[in-house]
Symmetry: C2
Subunit: 433 residues, 2 copies
């Protein structure tokens, strides 16, 4: 991953960071880097995630998925960080796989049913992921999926892989049924676990190159130095932080490849859940190039000056030529390929924001493959950890989601929780048709 | 559509609007309503969109799609407002249709190719939509699709429906090949055209009830009165505006149904492109309940106080029970259904934001069907038109997207444009690995 922050400089954009202010910020980056390195060396909670390129064992993952290596489809049952890393990888590389990867990361009954009715269950594998083994959405869906397999006469115990913590209901289940199982690594929060078994079981079932994913991440790790001017990941994290300080409260992530749409979702979780605390944090918005030029660009270029736009340029991909046309007005299209049109649209949009003084940053990949993806995921995680140090927040916790979990449990009769009582006290001001 | 703005009141949330301030704002709403009604009566540009429930002729649309009424798949070639309205409807109702609706709303070559290779072209219909008939992305994709049909030996002229303006290359093409064609209605910007042929051709091919869509919209239209306290659409538009004025620069749209995920994208275009101008406008963020409770909720509850969260409660849907489990900790799940879990999670999340003083609004549907969808789309359009009046912006234009269009065309050799030259002058500050 390379990064170009030229269009976020104060000489181009407002808000923007001057070169001098970035040099001053670089002193904080150096201190933060020391803290990060110490955390990695001590395997501290969260920082340990940046050690995954060395810790994760691809052979162990491949061995666990071996019984279902020829599955036509894979249902991953997980939510949040237990699904998004895996989905980012398999969606990005879907063209390279014969296995359809499906993610049950919601509890919508119609939608769950439509998947279970559609998939050939006897050729489908199940990948259930929950660190605690008690996540309500994941366990509910897993119970439903298991039941559907039984109803179809398919032995789910032959087709299920479990990724969970050292103990808990899912671990017990894996032991009882002798299921292949992997461990969620200690010290790695879900949103930082893409490069562990949590994110890589699905990649393994889909036949992707696990070593290349880890090698790409390791190369990014090698680039972690004490200066934002030498390290793409830190350049991104520091620039995003500096721009937020100057008013860019929103960070719009805009990949120019359909295959990276899920990456924008993964980034949105990483950024929101890690940095959104203590009334701080930059709000991620997910968008997609070229599509959102016809949707969000008006706002990005002419709305409030409260946004940083992050483009992801995917580099070389397979191309397809645009057939000639006899319509004069459109003849210019016939000399191009779809890839050239995509590239021209990207450069034009980037320049259009710069021309309007709107800050933007470019993340550059050299194609969408395992190696580049590994680098991208690791680079964004390192950028996020750096930003967390600069904000001074506890990057690796997510205390604000506990309230709703207790209320949900209380509402369903799973115990007495005062949070559930608060639900009944809602202030209403209803306007009815 | 009913609306509950109780959790956006200043007595609950900060930022929040006091009941008194809403009463004062209601005087502006009354004035804006007069302006809107006059615009509708005069069929003025933009305002005309609110007349679509009476203007759109379902019989004409059904007649146009009759030759492909039994298609297994439908490729809609369009971008922005030429795709999102149609996609919102067919995605919301996908469970009710045997026709797969695919949207080519991007120019990514790998992704376009993967669709064309996968679909049974001899059983596939084409729906090409562009008001001008010159939209680069749409025309490029249409040329590619046409070519793929020819290469497969399928006569595309037998399987194509055109929706375009009164003149232009697509109109000429329709005339030359005698294709069934429909007209993009005058005075209706793309993002407001869901309830015209632009949004309803796909619904017709997929067999949905066009009359019910229009009836739902007409009922919403009936509710447009001069007060936000009597009209759900105005209640929403005025509350969103009032909250933005008080610091809620971001509007997170969170439907609690997978089938409404595309609705959040449609809303994001409507809101961004209509209101994002003159350095004004609220930034839409799209999210999905329950999924994003495990991603964005931490930020929404504990990050900056710059957000309004809009929930969409879908009402009754098909349900699915959660099988019993012998695990004590999870026994409470076995007494519930997935739908009850979804509902409990929604109520818990809404209450969790209110308990933290974070403003939120609830849009309530009575199920996801044509009638309710028609009401939802119309209601949000009316809310947006009202908000545009309150902001004092030109709701129906999108001037900021022109720059990039010219630059793209210039880069591809389609003429001399100074915008294209600006692309080459990019300020670089690259950090390489």
């Amino acid at each position: 991953m390379n990064v170009d922050i030229g269009n976020a400089l104060a000489s181009v954009a407002s808000p923007g960071a001057s070169r001098e202010s970035l040099e001053r910020l670089d002193e904080q980056v150096a201190d933060a880097h020391e803290r990060i390195v110490a955390g990695m060396e001590q395997s501290e909670h969260g920082y340990e995630a940046l050690n995954l390129p060395e810790r994760t064992d691809p052979d162990e993952i491949r061995a666990a998925v071996e019984p279902v290596a020829d599955a036509e489809a894979l249902i991953t049952v997980g939510i949040g960080g237990s699904a998004l890393g895996a989905a980012t990888i398999t969606d990005a590389l879907a063209d390279e796989s014969d296995t359809e990867a499906v993610y049950l990361d919601n509890v919508d009954p119609e939608w769950v049913s439509s998947h279970l009715e559609r998939l050939p269950l006897e050729e489908t594998a199940i990948n259930v992921v929950s660190r605690s083994g008690t996540t309500a959405e994941t366990l509910a869906n897993f119970l439903v999926v298991r039941d559907a397999f039984e109803a179809a006469g398919v032995d789910w115990t032959e087709r299920t892989i479990v990724t969970t913590g050292e103990s808990g209901p899912l671990r017990n289940l894996a032991d009882r049924h002798d299921l292949p199982s992997l461990k969620v690594p200690d010290g790695v929060p879900g949103r930082f676990s893409a490069l562990s078994a949590v994110g890589m079981v699905a990649a393994a079932v889909c036949g992707h190159d696990l070593e290349a994913l880890l090698e790409g991440a390791a190369a990014e790790r090698e680039s972690l130095t004490g200066s934002l001017f030498d390290c793409p990941a830190y350049a991104y994290g520091a620039t995003a932080y500096a721009l937020d300080q100057r008013g860019a409260a929103v960070n719009a992530m805009v990949p120019y490849a359909e295959s990276l749409e899920t990456f924008a979702e993964w980034f949105a979780q990483l950024w929101a859940e890690s940095l959104g605390k203590d009334d701080l944090g930059q709000t991620p918005a997910r968008a997609l190039g070229v599509t959102d030029q016809h949707s969000q660009l008006q706002l990005y270029r002419a709305g409030p000056r409260d946004k940083l736009v992050t483009f992801v340029s995917p580099g070389e991909t397979d191309d397809r030529s645009i057939p000639d046309t006899d319509v004069d007005e459109l003849a210019y299209l016939g000399d191009a390929t779809l890839g050239e049109l995509l590239e021209a649209e990207f450069e034009a949009t980037e320049a259009s924001l710069a021309a309007a003084g709107r800050p933007n940053v470019r993340l550059e990949l050299e194609g969408v493959d395992e190696y580049e993806l590994g680098g991208l995921l690791y680079g964004m995680e390192a950028a996020c950890v750096l930003a967390g140090e600069l904000y001074g927040v506890n990057t690796f916790e997510q205390p604000a989601v506990e309230w709703a979990k207790k209320a949900t449990r209380g509402l369903l009769g799973g115990g007495d929780f005062e949070e559930a009582d608060a639900v009944a006290e809602k202030t209403e001001l209803r306007i009815e048709r």
